[in-house]
Symmetry: C2
Subunit: 636 residues, 2 copies
């Protein structure tokens, strides 16, 4: 393997090099006021005239000289010698300095009589009340808001002198096809430069995307020369195919200087910085999440140093719902999904595989784990920068436990109610830990088919310390999936594929062997383990094994034969007080809905005869049934 | 005066009527992916194909069958019968289920030898690792983010089915001129519909603004009929001139139904709602801040009920820096400027005059004070919804005390350092209260010219309880401004204009009368008080008085004669620990800068010989001098 990075730069060093190696192009443009939302003011904006320009009546009444009214009282009314009628919005002549409302005056022939003195300035919108001519409205660097635009129009501003930067973006890679073309297997849509354009234009940059350049040094060089000539900053996006990145660094070195190649940051390690004709060239890694880091942590700060501004960044403090281990020496950026459980915010770290864009889509924020940190244990509090409306936190439910396709079906119908279920696969054991910590809204679990919770050996020890409720989702059929139809007697003569020791199917399989008196060593592949039931089915379908244990639903989805063996209950465990949470009530009513049952039954893998039933274990370990009727809970 | 509102609707009633009187037009449009930032997804988006579509090598190496490798170890290496070379990004054929890195293999003639087993799936990006074909990417109602767009491109999405609403906006009012025309006194630029368009388009609406309609019922009716025909929602913006609003309600009643006119909300009371051809018509008040309330609290929630979404709304808890009194029975919306003082957030309520748009511009947020509340005392904690980046809070300095133009000059140069000074006029007494509460960063005060702080009678009682530092801004000349040149002897024979009892000029004037043995009753206008020194000068200039006390700078700015009488120091008082705050350090270095001194001297009103000097009173009331050198403080 080729060693790509001779030495990794730290994030801090890289940012210093980025900010100190180039001269601000100080580019601005005149933007029509009505198109200026979100743009950054390049030079202070002053009012063209005072608003109002003269004193204006704020009421219908008479304009008076306040000094003439000083002695007026109920006992000694004053007849005004000088005054004039004004309506709201009329100009008040400078010789008058107050307005008296018409209902506070009495007519005395042609003249007006008053019984109360008027304070100077009363009921007058004074000239300059809003702003005086030539006074500062907005300073340099301000990001224009919608309501600023109304005020600027009022103050006579027609165009905004806004900060701008020209950015050229070059996509490279032989495996890329442009948006709109269906990629063949092994090809990918060129999406990184689209993302770069949208992200940087929201900061006020003007982006020009070049056509895709194949992995050819001469072609890359030609595109680079042209992009550098017409832009202040060039981004070159490397494909993920072998070689492309090396061509990019070669091209930069041949045309100018390669300042760094490789930064101790994850994802985004292959990011590079060059200087050609005094202009910065940033090399974006090919993997999408790595490219995101390069855009957010490198391109954006450079544009910020040049006077543009990123979208407002809002932060919440959240506790880690699951442990997070990171590489010491690397600044890591982790997509995080935050939900509120009781009064506390909890964050679930998402996949950090740099090709998994769904990790960013599912997250409502991200965290920056500094280089000296090796990771955090569950419960550790950290900053999460939000990527969505904070209201999304309220709509997020965190599940921790054993995942099953039945949960995905629930997630789809919950989405349409504006709720987002974020489920982490921690197994039955993880479910109980998360419940103990109050680090999840609910914990999906596989339980034995028995109706008595006390029959679940791994739950029993926890029943006294937690007051749990269990919402029944469905009865699931376990069994052996195989390519060709088999019987139990065939088990010792075929290639088996196994699952992890803590899974309920593995436990059921071990029980089966025990009850049949079969020694595991008789099973070819007993030690050949995959991580989940879908991988069992996929291995059988792809010919890597002949049989393995999974559920009837998964076997059916993979077109496999199925030998039913045992039934288990799929249930959602939660603290009983959670039943009072309106989001959980909505969720339970969704589980109870015919729509959800129909979806489960349609798949052919679930028995939904008890779906939506709730049972609860109170402190003294006796069970009671809870039914959910018309949005309220009934105990029986 | 005409009573406009027969009965006011409560905000809650009004919102119920708004949300329940109309049918969602359910309008959507197809938006090219690259233009979809911030748009709301109208129908769930599913992946067009799996990503990756097939298993892909994540490393350079050999693709193997993991089952073949089960027994490999250092003691008993395994020679692979079946395997194939793959590079990163290459397709791994389904007959192989793992990749072994090339450096972990040994060549054995034509064949490869390994010493370690491979786990199923090892170094493979599995088909569907990111997402499976037809799986949900984004649910209905999601607001598209920049990084979503990259993922959507990858998943083959080319266009977004986005929520949309057509909004017609009619400006009315005879005092209006269009943007780009210089208004004459008494005219205003038609800015409310510009603000409405920008605000609602940011939510995803399409707005059509009609030309300005004069205050004429037939013209308004014609415009309304046309706008209702082609839009889902019509906004009609009334001018602030008398009559316009009544025409609007007449027109709505004649074409359809007036649902409400007048809501118990401030600003924004005149807002109205009508229904014409089953479509909603919202009447926006003419005053800009009232129009803002109507847009944010009425138009936006209606569009939200129709599937659009406002920009994310972020919130901070802040303590009130000054008391806030509100009208019981009215829901009030108050522009608030939030700053951080030590660990606490403090909010200053801004002007609520509905014509003062600068109040919204200067604020970084707003608070909603519910109708049952009469107001809050200083220190009360309340929610502030931010209208800027939260980082703006860190750049905001709150001053409370006696204001002087010297502070505005400081504000202008501080702006260019990215700092925002928000100064509240609370007088010298208010300055001391704010310091006691730690509710300001610094408190500008007028002090006697003496160099000994103990000579300030109103500070003396506080010196033992607070450890204060005083930064000298300038020496200010007080005296009597007049239209024609006068002497002290003329005081009893001319029309005087006075200021508030707690102002230092008023105190100086009273001392002067005392020392000269003049009885206040001898002064014509002694009881004729205005709120500040600028109003004193304006009253003299406009002929409402002949003389009054102010500073040489203000007199000069108003073109008045000036009789110098006393000197006072303008100083910035702060808790001594505040000197360690980096923002205060920047501020003091700005006060020390030649730029600032030059600006003060240019105005001709200040003596800057001691500008930037700091004195401090330690706990034992002895004074010491602090100098500020090279960004650090030196005590002497």
């Amino acid at each position: 393997m080729v060693k790509r990075y001779l030495s990794l730069c730290s994030l801090e060093e890289a940012l210093n090099l980025l900010k100190n190696s180039f001269v601000d192009p100080s580019r601005t443009e005149l933007v029509p006021l009505i198109e200026s939302l979100g743009r950054i003011v390049a030079a202070p904006i002053y009012a063209k005239y005072s608003v109002p320009e003269v004193n204006i009546a704020a009421m219908d009444g008479i304009a008076v000289k306040s000094r003439d009214t000083l002695d007026a009282s109920d006992q000694s009314p004053v007849t005004l010698e000088e005054c004039t009628l004004v309506n709201t919005g009329n100009i008040v002549p400078p010789s008058f300095d107050a307005v008296i409302m018409i209902e506070d005056t009495w007519q005395d022939g042609e003249k007006y009589l008053i019984r109360k003195s008027a304070a100077p300035g009363q009921h007058i919108r004074a000239a300059g009340e809003d702003i005086f001519e030539n006074r500062l409205v907005l300073p340099r660097g301000h990001r224009i808001r919608a309501f600023d635009i109304g005020a600027l129009a009022t103050y006579g501003i027609v165009r905004i002198n806004a900060r701008m930067v020209n950015v050229g973006i070059i996509p490279t890679g032989s495996e890329l096809v442009p948006l709109g073309v269906r990629p063949s297997p092994g090809q990918v849509v060129e999406s990184n430069t689209i993302m770069a354009q949208v992200f940087l234009e929201a900061m006020g940059a003007h982006c020009t995307r070049l056509p895709i350049v194949r992995a050819d040094p001469d072609e890359i060089k030609k595109a680079m020369v042209s992009a550098v000539e017409t832009n202040d900053l060039v981004l070159i996006s490397a494909g993920s195919s072998a070689g492309t990145r090396d061509y990019t660094s070669q091209v930069i070195s041949s045309l100018g200087e390669l300042i760094f190649h490789g930064v101790a940051v994850k994802p985004g390690k292959p990011v590079m910085l060059g200087k050609i004709n005094q202009k910065p060239v940033i090399g974006l890694p090919g993997y999408p999440l790595a490219a995101q880091t390069a855009l957010r942590e490198f391109a954006a700060p450079l544009l910020e140093a040049w006077g543009l501004a990123p979208a407002p960044r809002h932060r919440v403090r959240a506790k880690l719902a699951t442990p997070l281990s990171t590489d010491i020496g690397f600044d890591e950026f982790v997509p995080v999904t935050v939900g509120r459980i009781g009064p506390a915010y909890w964050g679930v770290p998402n996949s950090r595989s740099s090709g998994v864009q769904m990790a960013t889509i599912k997250a409502n924020g991200y965290s920056h784990i500094p280089a000296p940190v090796e990771g955090y244990s569950a419960g550790h509090e950290l900053d999460v920068f939000l990527t969505t409306d904070p209201a999304s936190i309220e709509r997020t439910l965190i599940f921790s436990g054993t995942l099953d396709p039945a949960l995905e079906e629930l997630g789809i119908i919950a989405h349409d109610q504006g709720m987002f279920i974020h489920a982490v696969n921690t197994g039955n054991a993880g479910a109980l830990i998360a419940l103990k910590r109050h680090a999840c809204h609910a914990a999906p679990m596989n339980l034995p088919a028995s109706s008595l919770l006390a029959d679940c050996p791994f739950i029993l020890p926890h029943l006294s310390s937690m007051d749990l409720a269990f919402v029944h989702i469905a009865m699931i059929q376990q069994g052996i999936a195989s390519h060709d139809s088999i019987t139990l007697e065939d088990l010792t003569s075929l290639r088996y594929i196994n699952t992890r020791k803590d899974s309920s199917t593995r436990m059921a399989f071990d029980q089966l062997l025990d009850s049949k008196g079969i020694d595991p060593s008789q099973i070819d592949g007993y030690h050949h383990e995959v991580a989940n039931l879908k991988m069992v089915a996929a291995a059988i379908r792809n010919g890597h094994a002949d049989a393995g244990m999974c559920t009837s639903g998964i076997a059916k989805a993979h077109g496999l034969e199925f030998l039913p063996l045992a039934r288990e209950q799929y249930e959602l465990a939660m603290h009983r007080e959670m039943l009072a949470d309106s989001r959980i009530c909505t969720l339970i009513s969704l589980i109870n809905s015919p729509v959800y049952r129909n979806r489960l039954e349609y798949s052919g893998a679930y028995d939904t005869s008890r779906t939506g039933k709730i049972r609860s274990v109170s402190g003294d370990k006796t069970e009671c049934e809870i039914t959910f009727e018309n949005n309220s809970l009934v105990l029986s």
